[in-house]
């Protein structure tokens, strides 16, 4: 049982793959120490003990895709002093937000034999579309070091040290050779939020944007150079803007702009 005075942590799941909450259990070296410092009061994947709120910090994984979850997220907010979203689903709607694009009617007709029987919303939306969020930790999946930093920061009531710059900066820090410049590989790095440690370029692969947009990304310029300099076709460009953070505003606006341009040409 938690000692009195220990801050209470809750972990909530909405539509998601469980990977971001798993990041907490993947902190093999820190987990027991963490459990010593805080009371893990509600974490269904890891414990059948359920301590009632209010909670000092709620970590929220997953996006909102059902009417029930629209209500539940408000209840979570009411019980939480601080609410932090973890991962691309909670922060941008996740891969399941692909349903937000294109002809929804046609899409539902393909997938649903009897759409009227299924209690799901037509969109997948981030937590911030429903309740105020104190901090959004981006990534698909999140970085566990950053997760520990965010937990520590909120429990000490200080701002988290999570840089909002691009993956390009991380490549320089890691000493990676630029896959774009050296190999002509299309890379989302210039517009993508840091946090992964530039893992794709370190494995000879272009970044595919799984950490979502960086602060003030110049997506129009990226699109231009992908097509002009690297000869990438527009379909591939749109696929890269529209995957795990498809509904993040900066990526969504650019992918829609590309589609509109495609229509004009």
């Amino acid at each position: 049982m938690g000692k009195p005075g220990k801050p209470k942590l809750a972990v909530w799941k909405f539509a998601s793959c469980d990977g971001c909450q798993l990041s907490l259990l993947d902190c093999e070296d820190e987990l027991l120490q963490l459990a010593d410092a805080i009371d893990i009061a509600y974490f269904m994947e890891a414990s059948s003990r359920q301590v009632k709120g209010p909670y000092d910090l709620s970590l929220v994984e997953g996006s909102i895709t059902t009417a029930e979850d629209e209500v539940r997220i408000r209840e979570v907010r009411e019980q939480s002093r601080a609410l932090v979203t973890i991962g691309a689903c909670a922060t941008a709607g996740g891969i399941q937000a692909l349903r937000n694009f294109g002809d929804v009617k046609e899409f539902t007709a393909v997938v649903y034999a009897r759409p009227e029987y299924i209690n799901t919303l037509e969109t997948s939306t981030p937590i911030s579309a429903h309740v105020p969020v104190d901090f959004e930790l981006q990534g698909c999946p999140i970085n566990k070091r950053q997760l520990l930093e965010v937990i520590s920061a909120f429990l000490h009531r200080r701002p988290p040290q999570v840089p909002a710059h691009s993956v390009c900066i991380e490549c320089k820090l890691r000493g990676n050779v630029c896959v774009w410049v050296a190999h002509g590989t299309p890379c989302m790095g210039p517009v993508t939020h840091a946090g992964c440690g530039a893992v794709c370029p370190a494995y000879n692969r272009g970044c595919y944007g799984c950490y979502g947009p960086k602060e003030n990304p110049n997506t129009a310029s990226l699109s231009h150079w992908w097509q002009e300099e690297l000869g990438t076709d527009r379909v591939t460009l749109v696929e890269n803007l529209r995957n795990f953070n498809a509904a993040a505003p900066a990526f969504a606006a650019e992918s829609r702009r590309q589609e509109a341009d495609d229509g004009k040409e």
Binding site: L22, E28, T65, L98, A113, Y117, P141, C200
Partner: protein
């Protein structure tokens, strides 16, 4: 007739994803068992239409954060089947190595964090660690070693980035594998102790006999314990190629669940996962695992699902033995991947995810865009067997106090390490009844 009672768990803890349990019973027996899956569906099969075939491994990885490698492996083998690509033996060995890492990481998570608290009477591994710190710390250490394989070969533990249709983006050099070897050797010893510890737990008695005996279904390969290829076989005579899968298995929709239940057309419910693999492939385990199974007196055919924790432990030890063998015989591939040109085609594959058989089938067009996708995850396949277990188990334990009985039912569900996040994402919505799929 005694008074009707119910067991109701609104939100099952220590499983991946969102599920509930409802059982109605009285002294004369069990009248209703429902494993309700209320996790919202995410419709992967719908939105994958029109996407590039090369994206399938990365997109389907997002179905499950616990076993992303399994999704990547089934997806890329299905695409390679469609495009007539055969990976070289060197690339095949590396795929087997990363799969070993995921088996270890996923099994050890389940053994220590989700299942063991049931046996030792705690609500979580963290609570268990107060009285049994060494056991939990060892578990975390073994899990970390599994993750170190996935991190090296995949780039990161969750949703690895380094596997692709045709091979890998980058293959490791022998020096990197040498460092990994040291980590694995240390953890291998701990894994052997884990097997002995798991075998020392006390298991609820539960055997199914006669008509009720399980049909275990797993891949089987002539030369190796199954991971990425083999025929689909069972202990009741099934022996088919993977491309015949859909002729023999079908998914049914039940109104109270967001997941489809898969059954064998001929015989109904079946059982996939570590126990099925073990029971059907014991001979292909490593000598050390077979020897240790003998030492602890564990049968080569296990029929009690509560002992699945021992089978998982044996598979973890096997994965260490196999990973070390693969590292020792490593030949760095000359090419990291095989090139492919897409053409209109269809392909399918099944691999052994930690929780059991994972089937993928895709169609692609001449531009390499996906025209249709079908995915059958392990938990959809085990759901019906889980419900049957509960139906048969309860009458044997009716004398237990209700709270204990409920705990036993939850433990019986955890025997299967159900991954509910996996199970719901494939709803094709051939609804048969005029009721909402969500209750």
């Amino acid at each position: 007739m005694g008074k009707s009672k119910t067991i109701k768990v609104d939100y099952l803890a220590r499983v991946e994803g969102e599920g509930a349990l409802y059982i109605r019973y009285d002294d004369s027996g069990v009248h209703d068992v429902k494993l309700k899956i209320f996790e919202p569906p995410r419709f992967f099969e719908g939105f994958m239409r029109g996407r590039d075939y090369r994206e399938a491994p990365d997109i389907t990885a997002r179905i499950c954060g616990i076993c992303p490698v399994a999704y990547q492996m089934s997806a890329l083998h299905a695409m390679e089947d469609a495009l007539g690509l055969a990976p070289t033996p060197e690339l095949r060995a590396l795929r087997r190595l990363i799969y070993c890492g995921e088996w270890i990481e996923s099994h050890v998570l389940h053994i220590y964090m989700l299942h063991a608290p049931d046996f030792l009477g705690y609500d979580s591994a963290v609570a268990m660690a107060r009285d049994h710190p060494n056991i939990v710390q060892d578990g975390l250490e073994i899990k970390k070693a599994g993750n170190s394989i996935v991190r090296l070969l995949g780039g990161r533990e969750i949703h690895p980035i380094n596997v692709r249709v045709g091979g890998f983006y980058r293959v490791p050099d022998p020096g990197e594998l040498g460092k990994l070897r040291e980590t694995l050797e240390r953890a291998q010893e701990m894994a052997a102790d884990m097997v002995r510890w798991a075998a020392s737990l006390s298991f609820p008695r539960f055997e199914r006999a006669g008509e009720e005996t399980y049909e275990f279904v797993a891949l089987s390969h002539p030369d190796e314990y199954p991971m990425n290829e083999g025929r689909v076989v069972s202990n009741k005579g099934l022996d088919i190629a993977v491309h015949e899968y859909e002729q023999h298995f079908q998914e049914e929709h039940v109104p109270y669940s967001n997941a489809l239940q898969c059954v064998l057309k001929e015989r109904g419910a079946y059982f996939v996962g570590p126990m099925a693999r073990y029971n059907l492939n014991f001979d292909r385990l490593s000598p050390r695992v077979k020897q240790l199974a003998g030492e602890i007196g564990f049968p080569r055919f296990c029929g009690n699902p509560f002992q699945s924790i021992v089978v998982r432990s044996l598979e973890v030890l096997y994965a260490f033995d196999e990973a070390l063998r693969l590292i020792d015989s490593y030949q760095q591939p000359s090419e990291a991947y095989l090139e492919a040109e897409p053409y209109a085609s269809r392909g399918c594959a099944a691999t052994e995810a930690p929780r059991g058989l994972l089937y993928h089938r895709y169609g692609i067009d001449e531009a390499g865009k996906i025209t249709d996708a079908r995915i059958v995850p392990p938990t959809s396949q085990n759901q019906k067997t889980i419900e049957e277990d509960l139906r048969l188990l309860l009458p044997q334990y009716l004398r237990l106090p209700e709270a204990q009985l409920q705990g036993l039912c939850e433990q019986a569900i955890r025997n299967y390490d159900p991954c509910i996040s996996c199970s719901t994402h494939f709803l094709q919505l051939h609804l048969e009844q005029g009721r909402g799929a969500l209750q």
